[in-house]
């Protein structure tokens, strides 16, 4: 299969993730959408790696995964804390800071 198709898929996944961030309310879901975007990036990296015939992209994918994992740790911690204070995971409920 033409590797370019994987790129299209990556772009699509990225867009889906981004759209999810824009339209979903639940912080967890939102965060998952961001993860989806990161994974889209990974797919792109791997595809390009294949196209160029070097391994840089694949190595980067691993780094991305680690970073994503770290983000999950921090992110979930923060989201859980705020859920405990507000009993809601909706990002729209946190609107104290504005204007």
């Amino acid at each position: 299969m033409n590797p370019v198709n994987y790129l299209y898929l990556a772009a699509l996944l990225f867009t889906v993730g981004a759209a999810g961030v824009l339209i979903r309310r639940n912080a967890i879901v939102l965060f998952m959408c961001i993860e989806l975007m990161l994974n889209a990036c990974n797919l792109a990296f791997v595809t390009f790696s294949r196209m160029h015939g070097n391994l840089d992209g694949q190595v980067i994918a691993f780094f991305t995964m680690v970073v994503a994992a770290a983000e999950v740790v921090i992110g979930l911690a923060i989201i859980v804390t705020i859920f405990r204070s507000r009993h809601s995971a909706s990002v729209d409920d946190s609107g104290l800071l504005k204007l």
Binding site: V21, R25, L30, V91, S94, G95, L97
Partner: protein, 645 residues
């Protein structure tokens, strides 16, 4: 000898400085200090006069440059004096009449607690007036010119607690400023044209300049003269100026300052001679004013205002004569001097009457005073005869010459001017007779004194309110000057005419030509006599035969208009004052709403924009994300677009 010229100015200036800065310590002797310094000035003047007489006719010009005043580039203004026959004439008039009036004021202002200051102002006036006539360039003349304006302002408004006096003072200064504007533009024109504004070079080089330029300078000088000499259209301040103490009216607003315009025009003869159009304007102004003033003088019941109208009118004669060129210069000055005597005398007489009548100025409340104050009556009467041109008295000689010269202008113009001058003489006779009759003849129409004036007002009313006045002759300090001036009024004209002395005296400076009148001199004199008789008779018919009503009758349309200065003040009020008020008020509005509004509006619109943009920051993380996403899209699109372009 030259250094004495500076001293002439310095003496009264010193007096002013000492009296104004000296403080209360000088209250007791201040008036004598002032009078003494005025007299010193007069003595110096006489010494100089004698010195000049000792020299030959063409060599009577003294000049001295004191110091370089404002040197900037080609602009060289010096403080320098020039004493020639013309200035000398003025010096003697100013210091002479000035000293007399100082003396008079000692008595007149005896009860005023601010007498020291009054004398300070008078001395200041003398200094400024002397500077005016002694300056050897137009800029220094301008200093004196405004200086007398300042003194006039201070003295008109001397009784500042009276709002009318303060207003009159302000008005005088303002109207004069309009004239001053003319003088400064004239000086600027001279500088642009000749590169200097000293008398010698400017007047000497006047033939080199184009007629247009000279006309412009001439018209601007005329504007200046109109302001200072109360000529139409800038005459309106003089009537109000009578708010000042009477000695002031006599000195400044009759004898000296108001004649400065005549001096200016005569002095600048060379310019006017190169500008016939400007001359025409001058004679027109003179003729109009002499009638205007005379008509106003007929209607006024206030003795000082009637005399003020007369002053205007007489100066109109002088301006008319000055506008006629070399034919008239000498007579303008001659009339100026004789007028100085008799008008000052008349004012002092009026002051004496007011002094006696508890500051009453309405002639309708006078009557029959001749027996109560004989000296005043006699001196006033002599002044009266002089002004109406009674044969043999000074006014006769000087006025007659002017009327003659006016006819000598020739052509239609000559007839019109001569006719106007003749008509003016008739009216003069009429209104002066009216003043005379209402004041000194007829039955007593005295009224109880008005409620007491403010404390420290004009010579404090000796009696309480509600009492009839007890007229009495004035003290010696007042009568002596009146007598001296009366003597002058009687003999000056004759003295000047003997052997053509005055003409010969002034000719080297002003030049002189004999006029060629279409009518003979004798005819003119006869006509003058005729109109004089008519005028006196009319007045007698109206005010001598019949009792004078205590309250003024409504009068004809012309009378009513004349009482209101021929509506000129109303015109000023509507057009200038109201218009000005509207203008300033709308400008204040514009400044606040438009000019400032634009700025505040900008600030407000930034604020409004800020408020609206702030709403975008709505606190929702997802809308922030939308902004980021959109931003990224724009960023990408723009980058791609840049490449495409």
């Amino acid at each position: 000898m030259e250094n004495l010229i500076g001293l002439l100015v310095l003496a009264p200036l010193l007096g002013a400085a000492v009296l104004l800065c000296g403080g209360r310590r000088l209250d007791r002797a201040g008036h004598w200090v002032g009078t003494l310094l005025a007299a010193v000035s007069f003595v110096i003047g006489v010494v100089l006069f004698a010195y000049l007489l000792g020299r030959s006719g063409d060599d009577r010009e003294l000049g001295v440059t004191v110091f370089s005043w404002v040197p900037v580039g080609g602009f060289r203004a010096d403080v320098g004096f020039q004493l020639d026959q013309l200035s000398m004439t003025f010096v003697l008039l100013i210091t002479g009449v000035g000293s007399l009036i100082h003396l008079y004021s000692v008595g007149y202002m005896a009860h005023d607690e601010r007498r020291r200051r009054f004398f300070g102002y008078l001395n200041l006036f003398l200094a400024a007036m002397l500077l005016l006539v002694l300056a050897d360039n137009y800029l220094l003349l301008y200093v004196g010119w405004e200086g007398v304006g300042l003194a006039s302002f201070l003295l008109i408004g001397f009784w500042q607690h009276k709002p009318s006096a303060a207003t009159a003072a302000k008005k005088a200064f303002l109207v004069n400023r309009v004239g001053d504007m003319g003088l400064s533009i004239a000086i600027m024109l001279m500088f642009t044209t000749f590169g200097t504004f000293a008398f010698g070079p400017v007047l000497g080089g006047a033939d080199g300049a184009g007629e247009g330029r000279l006309t412009a300078i001439g018209l601007m000088l005329l504007l200046a003269a109109c302001g200072k000499s109360a000529q139409v259209p800038l005459q309106s301040w003089l009537g109000d100026a009578m708010e000042g103490p009477t000695p002031v009216s006599a000195l400044i607003h009759a004898a000296t300052m108001v004649t400065a315009g005549v001096y200016l025009i005569v002095r600048s003869g060379a310019i006017f001679e190169g500008a016939p159009d400007a001359q025409t304007a001058v004679v027109t102004v003179g003729a109009v004013t002499l009638l205007f003033g005379a008509i106003v003088g007929c209607a006024k019941d206030d003795i000082k205002k009637a005399l003020a109208g007369s002053t205007m009118s007489q100066i109109g004669y002088m301006i008319l004569a000055a506008g006629l060129g070399p034919v008239g210069y000498v007579f303008a000055i001659m009339h100026l001097v004789t007028h100085g005597f008799f008008k000052a005398g008349l004012f002092l007489g009026a002051g004496s009457v007011m002094h006696a009548m508890d500051d009453e100025v309405d002639m309708r409340h006078y009557g029959g005073l001749r027996t109560y104050m004989p000296i005043t009556f006699v001196t006033f009467g002599l002044g009266y005869l002089a002004i109406i041109g009674f044969p043999g008295l000074s006014g006769f000689f000087s006025k007659d010459k002017i009327i003659e010269a006016a006819f000598a202008k020739g052509g239609t113009e000559g007839w019109i001017l001569g006719g106007a001058a003749l008509l003016g003489a008739a009216i003069t006779a009429y209104y002066m007779t009216r003043v005379m009759l209402m004041t000194f003849f007829g039955e007593k129409r005295w009224q109880p004194a008005p409620s007491p004036a403010e404390p420290g007002a004009e010579p404090a009313a000796a009696h309480g309110a509600g009492e009839l006045p007890h007229p009495h002759e004035a003290p010696r300090t007042m009568t002596v000057p009146m007598i001296v001036l009366a003597v002058g009024s009687v003999f000056a004209g004759g003295l000047f005419t003997v052997n053509n002395a005055f003409v010969k005296w002034l000719e080297p400076v002003t030049g002189h030509e004999e006029g060629h009148s279409p009518v003979s001199a004798l005819t003119v004199t006869a006509a003058t006599m005729a109109v004089l008789v008519v005028g006196v008779a009319l007045a007698w018919a109206q005010y001598g035969r019949r009792p004078v009503p205590v309250t003024a009758p409504r009068g004809s349309l012309l009378t009513r208009a004349a009482r209101r200065d021929l509506l000129q003040d109303d015109f000023n009020h509507v057009v200038l004052v109201r218009g000005g008020e509207h203008l300033t008020r709308s400008l204040v509005y514009v400044d606040h709403t438009v000019v400032d509004g634009v700025v505040n509006g900008t600030a407000a619109s930034v604020g409004g924009l800020s408020g609206r943009m702030r709403k975008l920051q709505n606190g929702y993380a997802r809308s922030y994300a939308v902004s980021m996403f959109g931003g990224a899209a724009v960023l990408i699109a723009a980058t791609l677009l840049m490449r495409a372009v």
